[in-house]
Every structure is written in C-alpha cells, then in structure tokens.
C-alpha cells in the first residue's frame, strides 16, 4: 500500500463543474460519480415517501377497526408503498448508487464504458418514477392492486393502474441499460493486471446482478405490456372468461420478480464483503468461494420462481422441483455468511458504524434466510403463504438485507464521496435505535403469520391485536433512528471533519486515491499485481 496519496493535489470531482452552474452541473454531467449521487438523492427522496406510507399502514394497524384511514386508502397505501420501495428504491438501489460511484474506481477505470448512456439511464429512471408517483394523484384514485398487480383484479379495479404499470415498464429500461453498461465496463475496462480473480467482491456482485438485470428484466417488460393490452384492448391473456389464465400472469411476473430479489441482495452482499475485511484488517476468508457462490446465486435464482405460487394449483412435480431448488439456492448464501464470520476470526476489529451495520446485517439476513426455509418447504409454506409471515420474511431480506447493507455502505464510503467524516457517535446512536425498532417492527409479523393472520389486511380479528401493537410501536422507534441517521449524514456532508484519503485503512483502489476523487479518478491507470484485500 503506497502511502503516497496526495490529498487535494487535484480538483475534486465536486469542484469540477465543466463550466455548468447550479443544477446543470448535476443533470448534464456524465461523470459516473455525479450520476451515482443523482441516484442517491432521488432514491433517498422516494425512500422518505415510502417510509411515510409504511408508517401510515402501521398506525392503521395499531388497533382493530378503522384507526386513521379507510379500507380503500389502506389498500392504495400498501400498493404504492410496495411499488415505490421495490421498483424505485431496492431494485436500482445499490447498483445505481454505489455501483455507479465505485465500480469504475474499484476496477481502475476512469468511468463506465458508456457514460452518456449512463446519464440517459438516470433520465429514464426519473421519467419512470414520475409516472409511478403520478398514478397517486391523477385519474380514478391511486392503484389498489398490491405491487404484484395480480390478474384478474388488476383489470377490474377502477383505480389508476395504468400509469403505475407504464412507470414500472419504463423503469425496467433503466435497469437493463445500467446492467449492460456495467457488464461492458467490467469486461473491457479493468486496469492492466486486474484479472477477474483479482477483482474485489463488490464488482463481482455487480457483475452477477448485471446479468440478471439484462436477462430477466425484459420478461417483466413483456408482462407489463400484456397487462396494458389487457386493460386497453381487452385481449384476454389472463381472463378466464376469454380463455385466458390468471395463473399465467403469476408465472410471468415471478419469472422476473424472483431473480429481482437477487438484483436487490447480491450487491448488498458485495458491500458487506468490502466492509468486513476493512474493519477486521484481514483479507476476506474464502474469496474464491464467495465469488463462486455469487455466480451460483445469480444462476440458480432463475429457477425458483414457483415458490411464490405453491398454493396456486401447480402439479406435484412442479412443487417438488421448485421446493428442492429453493433449498439449494439457500446454500450459496449460507456459504457467504460462514465466510464473513470467519473473516472476523483473529482479525483486528474496529467497531465503527459501517461495521455495526455489517454485523447487524448478518443477524437480520440470517433471520430472513432461515424464515425463507419455512417458506421453501411445502407443508409449512401452505400454512404461512399469504400471511403476515411472508411480509416479515421479505422485509428481513429486502429491508434487513439490502437496507442494512445500504446504510453500511453509505457510512463506509461517505468520506470517499464527500471528503468529510460523518459524526461517529450520532451515527451509532441512530443505528442502535433503528436496529431495536426494526426488530420490534418485523419480528411480530413472523409470529402473527404463524398464528394465521393473512397479509394485506386493513382490519384484523381481535386475537391478533397484541403483536400488532408491538409492531406499530417498533415502526415509530425505527423511524426515529432513521431520522437521526439521515440528519447526521446531511449535516456531515457539509460540515463534517475533513476526511483523509484512506480513513479506514482499506486496501482496494478507491482508498488509494484522494477523498473526494478527482474527475478522472486516477492520474495514471494503475497496474494491479496483487490479490484484492491484501494486508501485510
């Protein structure tokens, strides 16, 4: 590790405006770092809205009967919450923000392969999000179909479903183009000497993700087009009265949306694989196995969509196959968890905020994965399918997994992005409150589901009251933590202490350049002669 980094020898990318002013230095810049931040700010904005909708749902459910809104409003709230969280936040999420910011730097490149296409993808993203959010305000009321848009209800409801579906369709293109861009970048722009097996884990996970984005997203595109055809021209693909089949819709939807779960979680695993070695000062344990398991997840993940439909009447053979494959796809994730924990063994661990997020990630991700086994087994699936258990399970994976990794990543790369440090003690306080609230919010859902409370219920029988109170209170605690985290980050981006080039002692390329990086990242493209995560 050469300690020759000269902080501030060049203008940073934040000072480099290309002669543009105000907002234009952002929305016209093709610098991958600025584009990453554009995504960060857009995603954070939607996230605040999504969280607000989630809190409204939890307040409604704090007591049986109507509490703060009626059934129609509640149904619209969970639909829009789901659509925003899935399509606008978790799917673009880590790849769009940290992938953009870090992928070129981590592989020693000056930018992605197609910088203009990259900016264009962000425009598509914004157009799609505006359509989705417009559905809230225009037409016959916000959509009330659930984020899954299941047929035939989605063709019968009078609410404003079309813009939401068109929005999701448009967002798909942003995802496909980003995936394409990253694939080409990784294949063509690695620095001399950086063979695939010398590449850090984060780019590896982006690589697996990019293939899924490229290959699976078109399927949901076609499906959403079929939905449009159904609603506008009454074609009848999914309408039994016209010889169609509503179950066909579910197959098409999940053929994309299951792999999409891996779009959400793989880069999160990548970020965790960066954080743990850095704060343990130890090379990652079983690098090769982590890489192989990443590719295995991306591949096997295509063949398990049927586990969302175990009660829809598929044949016994189909159920047998989907169930066993679901169990097998759990193995590569387990391998990763074991390797992360082994990385800590005999390390020299510094308990900074990113590490706290990473360690708590392992805990909540384990709960998410293990509850997934309950859903993967047929007998138990039949009982908990479409109950609060499923809602708990996927929040443990998608919010516990991706969300915790995202917050970990924000803190970890914060000094690199802004050249300033966040406030450590506020960050830790925020984390602790968030974590406690989080467990109180989602833990009871698992219990409620086993007790038989169905999901998407505006109202429930009194026997389910107790755990629902705990869950609602948990939501309020979690949000307080979230606000602390957010305010701390916003404040520190402007007023934090100046950061060093390598405040954590990381080994990958992003830590060998100044904080914040210069426009072109490297003066000279580096030559790589060592394995990644090498401490000596």
């Amino acid at each position: 590790m050469s300690e020759t980094v000269k902080q501030g020898a060049h203008k940073s990318y934040l000072e480099e405006t290309g002669g543009r002013k105000g907002i234009f230095k952002w929305i016209l810049s093709t610098d991958h770092k600025r584009i990453g931040l554009l995504y960060l700010y857009s995603i954070m904005t939607w996230f605040v809205i999504g969280v607000a909708l989630g809190i409204m749902m939890k307040l409604e459910l704090i007591a049986p009967g109507k509490t703060i809104m009626g059934a129609q409003a509640y149904n619209a709230t969970f639909t829009v919450h789901g659509v925003i969280m899935i399509f606008l936040i978790v799917i673009p999420g880590l790849p769009a923000v940290f992938g953009n910011f870090l992928l070129p730097i981590q592989i020693g490149a000056k930018d992605v392969a197609f910088p203009k296409l990259n900016l264009f993808s962000w425009y598509i993203y914004v157009a799609g999000s505006i359509l989705v959010v417009a559905s809230l305000f225009a037409g016959g009321g916000p959509p009330d179909t659930g984020w899954t848009f299941y047929a035939p209800y989605s063709f019968k409801t009078g609410t404003n479903m079309l813009p939401a579906v068109v929005g999701a369709f448009v967002l798909g293109f942003s995802s496909i183009l980003t995936g394409l861009n990253f694939l080409v970048t990784i294949h063509r722009l690695r620095a001399p000497g950086m063979t695939f097996m010398k590449m850090p884990v984060f780019p590896w996970t982006l690589y697996g993700t990019a293939w899924i984005q490229l290959l699976a997203t078109p399927i949901v595109g076609i499906t959403l087009l079929m939905v449009l055809g159904e609603r506008i021209f009454n074609i009848g693909f999914f309408d039994p009265a016209k010889g169609g089949d509503p179950i066909l819709y579910q197959h098409l939807f999940w053929i994309y949306s299951h792999p999409a779960v891996y779009i959400m979680i793989l880069p999160a695993m990548g970020a965790i694989s960066e954080i743990i070695p850095t704060f343990s000062r130890k090379t990652i344990f079983g690098y090769r196995f982590i890489v192989i398991s990443t590719l295995a997840i991306a591949f096997v993940g295509y063949f398990v969509w049927g586990h969302h439909m175990f009660t829809s009447g598929m044949s016994g053979t189909a159920l047998f196959t989907f169930s066993i494959l679901t169990f097998i796809v759990a193995i590569p994730s387990a391998i990763k968890v074991f390797n992360w924990v082994a990385t800590m063994h005999q390390g020299s661990i510094l308990l900074k905020t990113p590490f706290m997020w990473a360690a708590s990630f392992i805990f909540v991700f384990l709960i998410g994965g293990l509850t997934g086994l309950v859903l993967g087994a047929l007998a138990t699936n039949v009982h908990v399918h479409d109950t609060a258990f499923v809602v708990g399970h996927f929040h443990f994976i998608v919010f516990g997994g991706t969300g915790f990794a995202f917050f970990g990543a924000v803190h970890y790369w914060f000094p690199k992005i802004y050249g300033r440090m966040y406030d450590e003690s506020w960050a830790k306080t925020g984390w602790l409150i968030f974590f406690i609230g989080y467990l109180a919010l989602y833990g009871p859902m698992l219990y409620l589901g086993i007790k038989g409370m169905p999901r998407r219920y505006f109202d429930y029988l009194p026997e389910y009251h107790g755990p629902n109170i705990l869950s609602s209170l948990g939501a309020l605690v979690m949000v307080s933590g979230f606000l602390i985290i957010l305010i701390n980050l916003i404040r520190s981006a402007r007023h934090g202490e100046k950061a060093e080039a390598n405040p954590w002692g990381g080994t990958n390329l992003e830590w060998q350049i100044s904080s914040p990086p210069s426009l072109e990242n490297f003066d000279e493209i580096p030559t790589i002669d060592k394995a990644t995560y090498k401490y000596d």
Binding site: A71, Q72, N75, G146, Y150, Y153, K156, T157, G158, P240, D245, P246, S280, R281, K282, T283, F285, G286, R288, F289, T311, S312, G313, S323, I324, I328, I331, F338, N339, V341, M344, Q346, G347, S348, I349, L350, I362, F363, L366, L370, T371, L373, V374, G376, A377, L378, A379, T380, N381, H383, H385, D386, T387, I450, K451, G452, P454, R455, R456, D459
Partner: protein, 316 residues
C-alpha cells in the same frame, strides 16, 4: 403448536407441525450459534485487545464442511416439507362434497342437497372435499387451524380436502388480496358431532334468508340485501362505494353504457331486475364493469320485488 388449534384439529396438523418444529428448530440453532460466534469474535478480536490481525486466506476443508452439512440439513427439511404436504394432494374417494363459492367479498358453501350457507359446517372425523369456485377475481381459502390453504381461481375449479378431528369453531379467511373488503372476507368453520350434523343437514329451510313476515316489505328487502352481501358495494346513505348507492336512484334518469354505446335510462323495476340478473349489460357511468356479478339463481324474482320496495322507500 399453538392455542388456535388443537393438535388433531385436522388430519394434516401433525405432519405440518412436525415440519415446522424441524425447520424452526434447526433455524433457531443456527441463528443463535452463528450470532454467538460472531459476537464472541467481535469481543475477542477488538482492535484494542488484538492490534495485529492474523491473515488467513481460507480453508478448503472448512468450505466443504459448511457446504455439505447445510446441504444435508436442507434436504432433510425439504423431505419433511414434502411428506407433510403430500397427503393434501389427493382427496379420498368417499369424501363428503361441498362447493365453496367465493366472490367479492364473501364465501358461500353449497351442500349436495342444495343447502346453502355462509359458513362451513362439517361433521367430525369424516373426510370433506371442497370444490373451490371463484366467481370474479382470485381468492384463497385458508383455515389456519387445519393448516390448509388453496387459491381459488376463476375459471378453474380446484379441490381441497381435510378430515376435521375435533368438534369446535375455527376461523376461515380469504388470503389472496381481492379488493376493497378483502380483510372482511372471513367466516368460520363449524365442526359438529356426526348426529348433530346429520340433523342440521336435513333441515334445508333453516338457512333461507331470515325474512320475518311481520316486517314491512321494504325492511324485508333490506334483510335480503344484507344476507346476499350487496352492502359491501352499495350504500343506503347516498355515498359512493364500489357501486352506486341505492339512495336517490329510483325513478331518476341515469347515463349508462350498453354494449359500448352511451344512452340514458330511467331506473324502474325492469332496470333494477336487469341490474341484478345481468349487471354488466348496462354499466352506470363512473363505475366499473365486471365487478358486480349476476345473482341469477341466488336472488329470486320475489326477493327482487322486496329489494325494489326498499330502494323506493329510501326516497320517500
């Protein structure tokens, strides 16, 4: 496993709960063990206690161990999941048949002798097979105590079966989101002793709508609306729900769409009858097609006359 359900509520409880116990048992063990080891490492190797890390790139032996052992364990879990589920697939030949009919937002159960009820009545210790029929959108029939659930798909009649093992009352939910009143789409299962059930089954009059001759025709009309679940979509106070309100329509002119053409109609007896037997013939402006289904065979001509009396009475 928990209080909502005695161990033998149905013949599937034992198999499903065994799978639960095995999977949750292994899961809790791994959750506690991995988290415990992690916390132990974090405490033991904190930088102030352990300033210099000892590098270790990995170990093939460990990788094999933590691939193979979990693989074997998940295969065991799969096996118990499969074994618990398999008997649910094929109902026995001699099972008693009931047709379960779901529509937005209620269930109806039809027995072989033509009896029609809102909740499910079954005899104890006798296999029952439900033919699952959805009339409008997807629904799903779920009886938590029995550990059974199956989606109800329009245009595709599926089956579900079970042997109730204990006299009592249990919850029955719709678990597939189906619109506005999804969360009110629940009813109960009554498991009865054999003789009691036989007695109940014979009496096909008891469940006809509770029309009391001492009520006015309009009041009777309201009871009929209530017992058919019309009020989930229609209000009596002029407010718009999924469908138009009954108030303020009698004798009025309305804009409707008939076979794609807009036209005006006057709400009279003929129109109301058509609205109930063939609701999608004329679609009232501002409402959606396909939500209300025909009640032909469910609501008689005489009952429609009473409903009309009720609608008239709202505007007096």
């Amino acid at each position: 496993m928990y209080d909502i359900s005695p161990e033998n509520a149905s013949n599937f409880v034992a198999g499903v709960d065994l799978a639960f116990v095995i999977i949750l048992g292994v899961s809790v063990f791994f959750l506690v063990a991995i988290t415990g080891v992690m916390i132990y490492f974090i405490r033991k190797y904190r930088r102030d206690k352990h300033p210099k890390a000892i590098q270790n790139e990995g170990s093939l032996k460990l990788e094999l161990i933590w691939t193979i052992i979990p693989l074997l364990l998940v295969l065991v879990m799969f096996y118990f999941g499969w074994m618990g589920w398999k008997p649910m697939k094929t109902p026995p030949e001699d099972a008693m048949k009931v047709t379960a009919i779901a529509r937005m937002w209620n269930f109806k159960f039809e027995y072989e002798n033509g009896k029609l009820t809102d909740s499910l009545y079954v005899p104890v210790n006798q296999p029952v097979v439900l033919d699952l029929k959805a009339l409008d959108v997807l629904h799903s029939l779920y009886i938590p105590a029995f550990r059974v659930k199956e989606d109800m798909v329009p245009g595709n009649i599926k089956q579900m079966w079970f042997i109730p093992g204990q006299v009592g009352s249990y919850d029955l939910f719709c678990t597939e989101y189906c619109g506005l009143d999804h969360s009110y789409m629940y009813t109960g299962v009554r498991v009865m002793a054999e003789e009691e059930f036989a007695e109940w089954m014979k009496d096909t009059t008891a469940t006809a709508p509770a029309v009391d001759e001492s009520m006015t025709p309009a009041q009777q009309g309201f009871e009929i609306l209530k017992s058919n679940g019309c009020n989930a979509c229609h209000s009596s106070d002029g407010s718009k729900l999924v469908g138009p309100s009954y108030r303020g329509i009698w004798g009025e002119t309305q804009e409707v769409t008939t076979a794609g053409e807009k036209r005006e109609i006057t709400v009279d007896e003929e129109y109301i009858r058509r609205s109930i037997y063939d609701p999608n013939a004329d679609i009232v402006d501002g409402f959606n097609k396909g939500l209300m289904l025909s009640y032909e065979g469910l609501v008689t001509e005489e009952e429609i006359d009473l409903i009309i009396e009720y609608i008239k009475s709202l505007d007096e």
